[in-house]
Symmetry: C3
Amino acid sequence: MNSPIAVVLAGGVGKRWWPLQTYKSLVPFVGKPAISHVLEQLQSVGIKEAIVVTNPVDQEAISRLLIAGVNITVVVQQTPNGMAGAVLSAKDAIRQRPILVMNAEDLVDNKLYEVIRSEITKQKPFVVGKKIARYFDTGYLKLRGDSIEAIIEKPGKGNEPSNYVNLVFHYFPDSEPFLKALESTTSDSDDVYEQALSGLCKIIDFHIVRYEGTWVPLKYPWHVLDMMDVLLHAMSELRGKNIEIKSNVVIEGPVHIGDNVKIFENTKIVGPCYIGDNTIIGNNNIIRQSHIGEGCVTGFNTDITRSYIGDNCWFHSNYIGDSVIEGDVNMGSGTVCANLRLDRGEIASVVGDNRINTRRTKLGALIGKNVRIGVNTSIMPGVKIGSGSIVGAGLVVNHDIPNDSKKLL
Amino acid sequence: MNSPIAVVLAGGVGKRWWPLQTYKSLVPFVGKPAISHVLEQLQSVGIKEAIVVTNPVDQEAISRLLIAGVNITVVVQQTPNGMAGAVLSAKDAIRQRPILVMNAEDLVDNKLYEVIRSEITKQKPFVVGKKIARYFDTGYLKLRGDSIEAIIEKPGKGNEPSNYVNLVFHYFPDSEPFLKALESTTSDSDDVYEQALSGLCKIIDFHIVRYEGTWVPLKYPWHVLDMMDVLLHAMSELRGKNIEIKSNVVIEGPVHIGDNVKIFENTKIVGPCYIGDNTIIGNNNIIRQSHIGEGCVTGFNTDITRSYIGDNCWFHSNYIGDSVIEGDVNMGSGTVCANLRLDRGEIASVVGDNRINTRRTKLGALIGKNVRIGVNTSIMPGVKIGSGSIVGAGLVVNHDIPNDSKKLL
Amino acid sequence: MNSPIAVVLAGGVGKRWWPLQTYKSLVPFVGKPAISHVLEQLQSVGIKEAIVVTNPVDQEAISRLLIAGVNITVVVQQTPNGMAGAVLSAKDAIRQRPILVMNAEDLVDNKLYEVIRSEITKQKPFVVGKKIARYFDTGYLKLRGDSIEAIIEKPGKGNEPSNYVNLVFHYFPDSEPFLKALESTTSDSDDVYEQALSGLCKIIDFHIVRYEGTWVPLKYPWHVLDMMDVLLHAMSELRGKNIEIKSNVVIEGPVHIGDNVKIFENTKIVGPCYIGDNTIIGNNNIIRQSHIGEGCVTGFNTDITRSYIGDNCWFHSNYIGDSVIEGDVNMGSGTVCANLRLDRGEIASVVGDNRINTRRTKLGALIGKNVRIGVNTSIMPGVKIGSGSIVGAGLVVNHDIPNDSKKLL
């Protein structure tokens, strides 16, 4: 048998990802990028070869990834021409090989990888179907028994052909028919891949691999919190080198404390928490279920709860609840990222022209890189602040702020 | 001798009580309603029978009161027709009995009850007169020696007939003449009771029982703080069942800690304080001379000083000074109830059409039930917020907010 | 040899000093006024006689100064007629004596005093020249070898005659020629002294005493921070009488704790710090590299960093960074003195009609005496608030506030 090769799609750029700048698969979690967590799972079930399709910008960073036991080839998708284009970028490397097409930043249970490994040995094409309870806008599987008849994109609530949605773990025992289908399919929308696959289902028998476990994609910026939560709970406790923990610090639950971290007096850390190298946690802080990157300083009297903080952020007497802060962000004393609506409703966020319900009742701010915010400012739940922006003191920020803005009044 | 019966008036509804909703005599203090404290005092001097006159709404709650050693009959005053109507509602139960008419929520020293008990044995009618230093708008006793000639309502400053005001502890060895007087008196104002009593003074000799001790009525909402203060100082220390007190918590002075209470690290509690069952006091708090109801969560870094907090309130990094918060109130991080005027003057409060001087230099907010307030909001001294209201983030609230309002800007 | 006499100029009044009211040489540092530190340095090198020239207002305070080993004569300069007038006010006391003219509040290294003492024994006139790296508007020394040819006032950047500026340590072995020069010089500007000295340099040989050490003048209010910093680092540790330090207080580095000081739980003090008598440091504070006067109360959860606080100030949950607060100031809960521009630039301050670059990237508020500020107010870096002012709640203060103002909106 020809050994299978994973085609890992890390190439698309999503405007729904704004204000985050770091490409999804490169967002660091507990010390390594999202894609590394995925590749390690692949490796753990014995898939030893992977082609990562990425964009020109991220090529270099992706090329630096080293995963023990996985032979990684990086392929650049020169133009952003969708999933179909991504797979076709890799066609020379995958001709006549069994391929598993998958996303670089969809997080699923290890168990699913074991099932996939076992299914692959049967050398029959399959698509993983994720069972879901509540409608959302994605591709649904139309089934006849275990066979997939078609993939129906965004059927609309009430018109779902099944309660399984298409999860991008697509296995082809031979890549040829699919590559040909991709080449011959045309579409006005960005769905060549799905149409090609759906068409192929009419010719070849694809069966469903049913899955009911965790599925955390990175589509919207608040998904960082979901992925953080899964990876924090899977993380091991660690005490790095040269750490300094002052008197009356309480640490509960699993906490990763990186090298050279200092934690000052009267601070409590409730795990699971990740604290990156060279970070300083100030006096009288409370840090709960959060991820704090490298080189941060939390200052005096800060409360960080269920939040993702990237590298090199400076805080001082802030409350940061259920927020994503990408990195290189400074916040003045008394500034608060509110995380609850006063009516306790689900929090919306404007994405492009649409007002998206995040389905979260707790969500704080979503802040890009290199943002500076003054003192005593209040950032309302779900607000996004673009990178490079300056936000003044004493403001109530209840609308998104574009990149490189200066908002002082 | 016919044993005396207390007629405890718990029936009126006062608009001056807004924004509080709980009827005055039912406001809980240190675990039981105000009226229970009063009835226990009665019981302690051997008055074993009481008729409580209440309104239809509170009938059920009043009926549930159990005071060991006091036989309580609840009478409903169907229409809000004043004190006269209240006493007349009970007339069938008190005919030809010696009666002591009193309010359900006037708090006085135990010593006065002892004096009353002793006076009652003389079987002569009396009215308790409270000696006061500074004029305020109430009924004054016009005296000739120890005899009361009349009760002068609101005589105006400088026209006081004595420095004793009418305190509603009125003893009639036989209820009949007073019931008749009540029935035959008419008035355009809400003062039938006072006129009937004043008229009776001209026919029968009422003597004054002079009193110089504590008198705490519940008339305006800030009076809750006065009553709280008295009852906290009288309260016993308690450690409830199943309490959890984390490291480095300092508790000074008498503190009642209810069942299942948790107190987190680095918090200081300065008694006298009452903390109701199932309440969680967060990390790095300071709680001083305050009353906190059941099921509250104070969150991280909150300062509650000389304040009354009802049940089920949630705080987070707030300062609450000299405030009354009725219950089911949520406050966002950084919100402050200011308790001092910048000019250090006495704090005024608008009640109906009048601007009342509260005579307090320290007074925070007065907040009804079911109110939600955003982050970093500043509530000015003496401001009242009606129940069911939502108040946004980053505001300076310097006017009262009616019930069920939505104030976001 | 006639023993030298120091003529210490403590007389001028500077509008650049606003909003501070205390005259510069009387600003207390670590328990005594600035001038006392200077006089003690004089004493340490054996100059035993000093004439202090002051203004009528400060005469009494200056007269109370007692410096062991220094014989102080106070002379009043009746009209504010500059340095020349100041020296001439003292002429009767200094005739035919060797004199060292100097300022009452210029702080320099002890080493310079030793050099001066040694130079004086040579009985040749000299002027101390301070070597500087960056141009600023003051008098520059025009040199020929070690001889001073002239003093060039504000030559403009690029036109400096040397990189030494005139430091007011001017030695005259005989006062007569200088007194005569002062009396015969006229000028439209306030530079009679400098012109007289410059003219004298053409007749008599003045040599330069070169100096490269610390020089901290008190010219602008933020200079208080520079002087504080020098004097805190020179200060000795002390634990006063009757102090009370509660549990879990951490004190690091040299800290002067005055008599009757109380420090409450969970507070950290990072020296060098000075805490004056009768001051109360509240719970959960952090106090770093700061000077706090007598009779202050810092309240709960306050952060005072690199700041000068005068006597009788009350705080409560404030952040005060790199600020000067003269005394008798009250600040409401949550109010912040921001100390960094969002663009990290150097902070400007308007002085009279000019916008001065303070050359500081960290500078908070500069607040005069008897100021009251509400809750949750944000004071922008470099803002000055005049004495007697009231500043409301929830404000962003980004302009100076004159004396005796009421700013509520």
